[in-house]
């Protein structure tokens, strides 16, 4: 029996917008398919546990810097380099990069997992965010002040259909084991296909469709947002 080990990193620092929902959704959708799930919430002062999937949420500026500083002192980057999976939203996306600026123009060191730089934009980006991800559409909500530039060879998660994302054209980034998006909060609750893509990636299996209340929500959001 496969056990999915999920670690939610520092929810007290990175969990401003209901981001804990992503762990819940991964756990429930895995359980309903018969997989065992072990969800650990990693608190300040805890050691970084071994996990198949690390979840990084959104956060305010000070807590975001602290989360980055704390994680840099752990084996996080090495574990991700070794293939552990990561889903990061909003501030979590920013700290995966090499540097980020939040308040003012001071640069802070990120976790250097992906060659990505975030600078403070002229305006906050607040509103619905819709992204074309290959043949799927991601719907969500963004609220951040960053403009993110991808380094050479870094693949965006998708192209922006509505909202701002990284820079108005692209949103987030992805590697074989990392998904990052500016669609904050419970993005997996809104996008059941995305939740299943993450689960399938972590388990290395093909998944059968699973009917949940989220299917109707996803259809309704796409209709309302005309994407």
């Amino acid at each position: 029996m496969l056990i999915v080990k999920i670690a939610v990193l520092f929810p007290e620092l990175l969990g401003t917008y209901g981001d804990g929902g992503n762990g819940l959704v991964i756990a429930e959708r895995s359980r309903r398919r018969g997989y065992d799930v072990d969800v650990t919430s990693v608190a300040l002062g805890d050691d970084l546990p071994d996990a198949d999937l690390y979840l990084l949420g959104g956060g305010e500026d000070g807590p975001q810097r602290l989360a980055s500083d704390l994680l840099r002192r752990t084996s996080f980057a090495r574990r991700v380099g070794d293939g552990a999976h990561v889903l990061a939203v909003c501030a979590g996306l920013q700290i995966l990069g090499t540097t980020f600026s939040v308040e003012g123009d001071d640069e802070y060191e990120g976790l250097n997992v992906v060659d990505v730089v975030t600078r403070r934009g002229e305006h906050r980006s607040v509103g619905e965010l819709c992204v074309r991800v290959e043949d799927e559409t991601l719907v969500g909500f963004e609220n951040h002040g960053g403009v993110t530039r991808l380094g050479d060879g870094v693949t965006a998660l998708g192209t922006v259909l509505r909202g701002r994302g990284n820079d108005g054209a692209l949103d987030g980034f992805t590697t074989s084991n990392v998904w990052a998006t500016y669609a904050h909060g419970p993005v997996l609750a809104l996008n059941p296909w995305f939740a299943d893509r993450v689960i399938a990636g972590v388990l290395g299996v093909e998944l059968e469709p699973l009917a949940t209340a989220a299917d109707r929500l996803y259809d309704e959001r796409r209709l309302t947002l005309r994407v």
Binding site: Y17, G18, G20, E28, G45, A214
Partner: protein, 367 residues
């Protein structure tokens, strides 16, 4: 925000009156009403919940009573304190609310702290919740603070120290940080049926439900103590309040008997969920995400809906599918209501937990 008001207008209108201002994420309207009713006699108040300066000006224009209680939006507190020179400022709590307006909660605490550090009227007394670390961070710089030990249900926004961001240690009703920031000693404490203010014990029995309303009442009474009100009489008047601007009111609608509960953010929702009793089989939840609510309902995932397992939850409002999805993942029985007329009536009073505009809709359509 509507009209812009002339600078100095609020100051002119407030001059010569005794002003109490009330702010915080949750309980503003209720605590303002409790303060006004507890004070007794004619009291001016922005009872409609219009809690920004135009609403304050409108209330002050409407009456020349010397007693004023103003509910103030958290983001407007500095401006209103500066303009109205209050005698007392009540700070209830701070937690995440309508984050799409970018008023991140720690920034609000910082702004309150700056305001209280620079405040012009030296005799301002702050009545502050000693159990909320963000409120303590804001209020500790004040010259005169009355700390209140009142029940809090939500500390998810104060897990890390507002000063140094280390993890706060919580335990036995106390909290502290290794940097030295710690819960202050309270001068007022709520007990089961009483409120203790200094060495004075006041009987406190409320018609309104919930521990959060005991907290609201305690803070209202602490504010009234500062303006010299007899607390036993005030507590008795506050105890008789049965609803505030429709909140907690029993209403009739289409053969259903409903109790309307306003719950517009995770902390408020958690507090309201605690008032739902096991014998209330059916619960209605109504959620919108209009401008006044905040356009982003992500916060539903911060609400402990798991508490509703064993109930049957009817999902109403523009965002009923978001609610249904949240409940599905929480393993709570749910019914999506696309046709209001199809909802079966219950023999009992049905709790309706609704956020801001959904609450207004239900208040308007029920009687």
């Amino acid at each position: 925000m509507g009209l812009r008001i002339a600078p100095g207008l609020l100051t002119t209108l407030a001059t010569g009156r005794t002003v109490i201002v009330v702010s915080g994420t949750n309980g503003k309207t209720t605590t303002t009403a409790m303060t006004a009713v507890g004070w007794g006699g004619p009291v001016v108040s922005n009872a409609t919940g219009a809690n920004m300066p135009p609403g304050h000006a409108a209330a002050l224009v409407a009456s020349n009573s010397p007693r004023v209680v103003l509910e103030v939006d958290e983001a407007w507190l500095a401006a209103v304190v500066d303009a109205t020179r209050p005698r007392v400022c009540v700070l209830l709590n701070l937690s995440r609310d309508q984050l799409d307006r970018a008023n991140e909660v720690r920034h609000l605490a910082e702004r309150w702290r700056t305001m209280l550090g620079d405040v012009a009227n030296a005799d301002l007394v702050v009545v502050a919740n000693a159990n909320d670390p963000l409120v303590v961070y804001a209020a500790e710089v004040s010259r005169h603070v009355r700390w209140c030990d009142v029940p809090v249900t939500w500390l998810a926004d104060a897990v890390s120290c507002p000063k140094c961001t280390s993890a706060l240690e919580h335990g036995e009703g106390l909290w502290r940080c290794r940097c030295g920031f710690a819960r202050p000693r309270a001068m007022a404490t709520t007990l089961d049926e009483e409120l203790v203010v200094g060495d004075h014990r006041i009987e406190l029995t409320l018609a309104l439900p919930g521990q959060f309303n005991r907290a609201n009442a305690a803070m209202a009474l602490c504010a009234l103590a500062i303006v010299g009100v007899d607390l036993d009489a005030a507590a008795s008047r506050i105890g008789e309040i049965t609803s505030v601007a429709g909140r907690f009111a029993e209403r009739q609608w289409g053969g259903h008997c409903l109790q309307l509960l306003l719950a517009k953010n995770p902390a408020g929702f958690a507090a309201m969920l605690e008032t739902v009793t096991a014998d209330e089989r059916d619960v209605w939840v109504a959620i919108n995400a209009r401008v006044a609510d905040g356009r982003d309902p992500s916060w539903l995932y911060d609400v402990p809906f798991e508490m509703l397992r064993g109930h049957r939850v009817y999902c109403f409002g523009d965002r009923r599918l978001d609610v249904a999805t949240r409940l599905d993942y929480a393993k709570v029985e749910y019914v999506i209501v696309d046709d209001d007329a199809a909802v079966p009536t219950s023999a009992n009073l049905v709790p309706v937990l609704a956020n801001y505009t959904a609450f207004s809709d239900w208040l308007a359509c029920s009687s």
